[in-house]
């Protein structure tokens, strides 16, 4: 049961608005309801969603949606822009101390990925920044937490400082600082035990560690699958320990990752890295725009919309739509449409960008025959203006002439004529279907219809 993305959710409303030609405040309100549900299903916290929707509605009502390709897509774009902006810029820099050693402390709930990320981070710090990190095993509670970090240290050939489980974490960190000085480690990364944000005793322990020497970075490590509770976690950790950044783990899964937005809006701290796997090299920088698309469940839909907006003449697209509806679509329009689509780039690429396209069997290998398109063009150019608008007059002698003029065969022409008729029928069916199911959101290929007209 995959959850519907925003584009799918908005289909119903979009279809109706198209028919009406004017977007009312009520329409925006209805679309915002879908935006709200899409975000909740993506695990964005409800309160954050409410604030967000309020902000976006204001923008959506004011915008000149009718000038845009389609109003629905414009709304999606506003939502995504706003999301991207909220999530902050791309930031994967680490704040190093002006005077070494730099202290980095990892904090978070149980099982979030702190220990694993400690290793990954150390790996980056050594490779990318050419520094010499020391890993500190300050989790004395979880069974075999120290062995886990030591194994990771061994894998990376990096030193791990540990004192067993009978010394307090505060003392361990104190001595680790000494050790770092001795061994000339310019960065120390402290792996702390997972703890609940409501566990006062253990939250105090974190404070005590920071009071030895204030860390340069305190990274809150959060599981990307986290639900509504992410706000409480981020808020508590931020208030008690003062986090400087966030690392979102397990993003190699198929979660929408709405927690990213929740955390960002309550803590206001940048998301610096994302965990993309269990291996030591699976730590990447955070891309707010990608995250926004992911939360909205849109694949690369947005880049497709942008492409369409750059290349498709809005007025022409509207004319074409009108022609479909009134059945006055001609071969001239056919050519026009082909050209519009061609401007957007190779068809294979366009198909790949459609959400859900990956799930359609066989489509991943779909090859569009560009030669065939050239042939079709040639045939149409060989027609007289009258033939283009009224293909029914094309009899066998006209076919012979067109074949000769276009360098194709009678069969090619027959095929195209049949395709054209089929297409008209399909369009007729589609538009009547759309009328029928207005308000419903059960389009098979969301967005496809509006993109290719």
């Amino acid at each position: 049961m995959a959850f519907e993305g925003l584009a799918e959710r908005l289909q119903g409303t979009i279809q109706r608005i198209k028919g009406k030609g004017k977007v009312s405040e009520a329409d925006v309100k209805e679309m915002m309801k879908e935006v709200r549900f899409a975000l909740i299903e993506a695990d964005v916290n409800l309160k954050v969603v409410k604030e967000f929707v309020k902000k976006v509605s204001e923008r959506a009502v004011g915008v000149d949606v009718m000038k845009s390709l389609t109003p629905g897509q414009q709304v999606i774009k506003i939502v995504k822009d706003e999301l991207t902006q909220l999530m902050g810029g791309e930031q994967s820099s680490i704040q190093f101390a002006s005077k070494p050693p730099t202290i980095i402390m990892m904090v978070g709930l149980q099982g979030a990925g702190k220990t694993t990320t400690t290793g990954k981070l150390a790996n980056i710090i050594r490779k990318k920044y050419n520094r010499n990190p020391l890993l500190v095993a300050a989790d004395i509670y979880r069974p075999a937490a120290i062995q886990q970090l030591e194994t990771i240290g061994k894998q990376l050939s990096l030193p791990v400082f540990s004192m067993g489980i009978d010394v307090s974490p505060v003392e361990i960190v104190r001595q680790a600082l000494e050790k770092a000085k001795e061994d000339h480690n310019d960065v120390i990364i402290i792996d702390t035990a997972g703890r609940l944000h409501i566990d006062e005793k253990l939250m105090q322990e974190l404070k005590d560690i920071t009071s030895i020497k204030q860390p340069d970075e305190v990274f809150l490590v959060v599981d990307a699958m986290t639900g509504q509770d992410a706000v409480n976690v981020a808020q508590s950790f931020n208030e008690t320990v003062g986090i400087t950044g966030v690392i979102l783990t397990k993003l190699d899964g198929d979660t929408r990752g709405g927690a990213a937005l929740s955390i960002r809006s309550v803590a206001g701290k940048p998301i610096k890295f994302v965990g993309m796997g269990e291996k030591m090299d699976a730590l990447e920088s955070f891309h707010p725009e990608r995250m926004a698309s992911r939360i909205l469940g849109m694949g690369d839909m947005l880049s497709l919309i942008e492409k369409a907006q750059e290349n498709v003449d809005v007025e022409k697209a509207k004319e074409l739509e009108e022609k479909f509806r009134t059945q006055s679509f001609t071969f001239d329009d056919f050519i026009e449409q082909m050209n519009q689509v061609k401007k957007m780039g190779p068809l294979e690429d366009i198909i790949k960008m459609l959400p859900g396209a990956g799930k359609i069997k066989g489509l991943e290998n779909a090859k569009v025959d560009e030669k065939q398109m050239v042939r079709v063009e040639a045939i149409i150019y060989a027609m007289t203006p009258h033939e283009k608008t009224t293909p029914s007059i094309i009899n066998s002698s006209r076919k012979k002439r067109i074949a000769k003029g276009s360098g194709t065969s009678i069969q090619d022409i027959n095929r195209l004529l049949k395709q054209f008729e089929d297409m008209k029928k399909m369009m007729k069916q589609m538009s009547s279907n759309m009328q029928q199911q207005k308000g419903k959101k059960k389009m098979k290929m969301p967005g496809l219809d509006s993109l290719f007209k």
């Binding site: 916290n45 709930l109 599981d223 509504q228 929408r256 927690a259």
Partner: protein, 336 residues
């Protein structure tokens, strides 16, 4: 069957639902009474059953990760019932709410909270789940629980991948006082299982609990590996694995549904262990999982210690879904 369909059936009084209703009344145990009285308190804060009331309830459930679809179904059925009975004030609605909330979980299905422990011969329990949810810890706790019940238990260290995983299980084995069958890091988990089953049989233990590495459900190869493990157990012991327990982190949001679906497909999950309920997250998605996939929650994890595992109690759980939230909201803008 969908919750709503069940509800309608119940309201029109078909036989299956009559037993539900009867069971509901018969089962008005002490916890149920406590639960209902708490709902009473809660509802007493309102004079009227109006849209504000429904909206607040809806928000609380959404914030407990119950999920849009389930919440909407629930609200629909509540509104329907309120209208049908023409309830204007809050008197009487308490029982409706508690009934509906419990029913959305139980939907008339048999109580399956108990583990299927064989009377004779070896019982094999397989733990599965995504990374870091609490599989290994829950195994430690369950081993302790079973041991206290007089069973002999053995553990299989089937996570040969994650750093320190074998050592972690070994610490739990030592704590609880049960044997751990293990091989070296990096060895084939299916081979570990084979070994473990053989040892369990020859030692004549009652229960073998198998740990596996955490894996995200969208990793095809890792899910295949899990199926292979499952197959080995199936082949070596008739009827095994007798229980496949999916560990779910209560902090997880809507992705838990996809987890449950994928792991059910791969290994025929028989129950859920809902971990980390001692935090502030509610894991409300288990309502939808039970409703759509019919997987019951068997245990809840309430901490990191040996005895922090409890059998699942529907009423207690369902009340917890919104009660605390309601109390928190109180004094804010909740009432008006």
């Amino acid at each position: 069957m969908s919750f709503l369909k069940k509800m309608k059936e119940k309201l029109t009084g078909t036989s299956e639902s009559e037993t539900v209703s009867k069971k509901f009344k018969d089962g008005l145990s002490k916890t149920r009474t406590q639960f209902t009285s708490k709902v009473n308190d809660l509802v007493a804060k309102y004079r009227k059953v109006d849209e504000d009331f429904f909206e607040e309830l809806e928000d609380l459930l959404l914030q407990a990760d119950v999920g849009v679809e389930t919440v909407m179904e629930l609200m629909d059925s509540l509104r329907f019932e309120v209208q049908r009975k023409n309830m204007k004030d809050t008197a009487g609605i308490q029982s409706v709410i508690s009934e509906k909330l419990v029913e959305i979980y139980e939907t008339g299905e048999e109580e399956l909270n108990e583990l299927l422990i064989q009377d004779n011969g070896l019982t094999v329990i397989l733990f599965v789940g995504v990374n870091g949810v609490g599989k290994t810890t829950s195994i430690g706790k369950l081993a302790h629980r079973l041991k206290q019940q007089g069973k002999t238990v053995m553990l299989a260290a089937g996570d040969t991948f994650r750093a320190g995983a074998i050592e972690q299980l070994q610490v739990w084995g030592d704590r609880v006082g049960v044997e751990v069958i293990k091989q070296s890091e990096g060895s084939d988990p299916a081979a570990v299982m084979y070994d473990a089953v053989r040892s369990a049989k020859s030692r004549g233990v009652n229960v073998l609990i198998c740990d596996t590495a955490g894996r995200l459900q969208n990793k095809v190869n890792l899910m295949k590996e899990l199926q292979k493990i499952h197959k080995v157990l199936e082949r070596e012991v008739p009827g095994a694995p007798h229980e496949v327990l999916l560990a779910l982190d209560a902090t997880t949001g809507q992705n838990a549904m996809i987890q449950a679906q994928a792991f059910k497909e791969a290994t025929n999950v028989t129950g859920i262990v809902l971990t980390k309920l001692d935090g502030t997250a509610k894991g409300g998605i288990v309502l939808a999982i039970r409703n759509k996939l019919h997987i019951p929650v068997k245990f809840v994890g309430l901490g990191e210690q040996m005895d922090d595992l409890q059998p699942f109690d529907t009423e207690k759980y369902v009340y917890g879904l919104f009660a605390e939230g309601l109390e928190q909201e109180e004094g804010n803008d909740f009432k008006n």
